[in-house]
Symmetry: C2
Subunit: 198 residues, 2 copies
Amino acid sequence: MAAETRERIVEAADLLFYQHGFEATSFADIAATVGISRGNFYHHFKTKDDILDGVINRRLANTEQMLDRWEIAGSDPAERIRSFIHILIVNGEKIRKYGCPVGTLSSELAKLNHTAKSDAAALFTLFRSWLCRQFERLGFGDKSDELAMHILGRSQGVATLANAFDDDRFLHHEVDLMCTWLDDQIADLTNKNNPDRE
Amino acid sequence: MAAETRERIVEAADLLFYQHGFEATSFADIAATVGISRGNFYHHFKTKDDILDGVINRRLANTEQMLDRWEIAGSDPAERIRSFIHILIVNGEKIRKYGCPVGTLSSELAKLNHTAKSDAAALFTLFRSWLCRQFERLGFGDKSDELAMHILGRSQGVATLANAFDDDRFLHHEVDLMCTWLDDQIADLTNKNNPDRE
DNA sequence: CCGAAATTAGGTCAATTGTCCTATTCTGTC
DNA sequence: GACAGAATAGGACAATTGACCTAATTTCGG
């Protein structure tokens, strides 16, 4: 079946793009991983950029699905945000080896002046607006987007340094700090709404 | 003169590696930028990795020089840390276009499984130990390295997102937050040392 | 079972890559 | 001013790249 082969190609490309980068991954690499001939590629993807498109769309779909799963899990928005923060630990090993899939792809495409850079940024937007929604539900109002960007940036920085230093302890420590930060934000907000002196 | 040509090559390579990445920059690109023949390269650098070495050493030297300049500027350690934070604004335009030179190089080399990855990480270490020293002088003792890594990570995350979204307002806002965070840390420390009730 | 369409394999293509060689030009010393 | 060594230019080299084509095979509706 064609759709299945296509799916296998995108899946392999996704992994290779993550592990070695978009530019450093060749058609031959993907073909060898999937176990099909190079020529077969052209039937499913006309250009390398098409494969990138497929990979980004796959990531978008997977991410959306993950975020939806967290949203219907019934827990409160704060718990959902903690789920986001804990991706750093869940995917800790991969992050220490290859960095954050979203951030590193976005950076690479920016340097390549690639048309798909905005598509990669859409992946960030997915997380951003999801986080923003959670903060809004917690009652942060107009500050929600700022807070979403803040925590998104924090996790990006943690991923970059954990990768550069291959440091697991740092990663865990910063995750704790981010959770503490979240608790403080929520405490500040409730204090502001119920200003009971002393 | 040979040393001058070599310097021009490294300088051009430094810029190109930053703007387009290490792998995406070819010998021909550098030669064209410097304005010398490709063959002339081999006289100064045997392999591409040699050029990378030269670029990293150049960055190490420049960074060390910058940090030294900040250190003898006579201001207090807190002011020096603020100087570090404000690189994000000083280099804001470049960062929005190409990301952080240190972080993006480190990420790329990690994906390429390149031997020089540890050399690139040494650039991070330069900032890390410098920041650590400033925190120690402020009296943070054993916590100094954690704080240094924290602020290093924050700036990395800010650079990544400012690049992904090409967002200058976010960059400025996060710089403000980092400065506030620094002030809070210092305030907490003095409170701890002078526990005068009320 | 047939034949058309979808799928796959294998190979070709020009362009580019990093590497390397040789011939020429420049530079400084006796 | 001659000459050795450094510096430069220009090209050759095999290997790899993304892209493309054609022929063989598979799949499936009638």
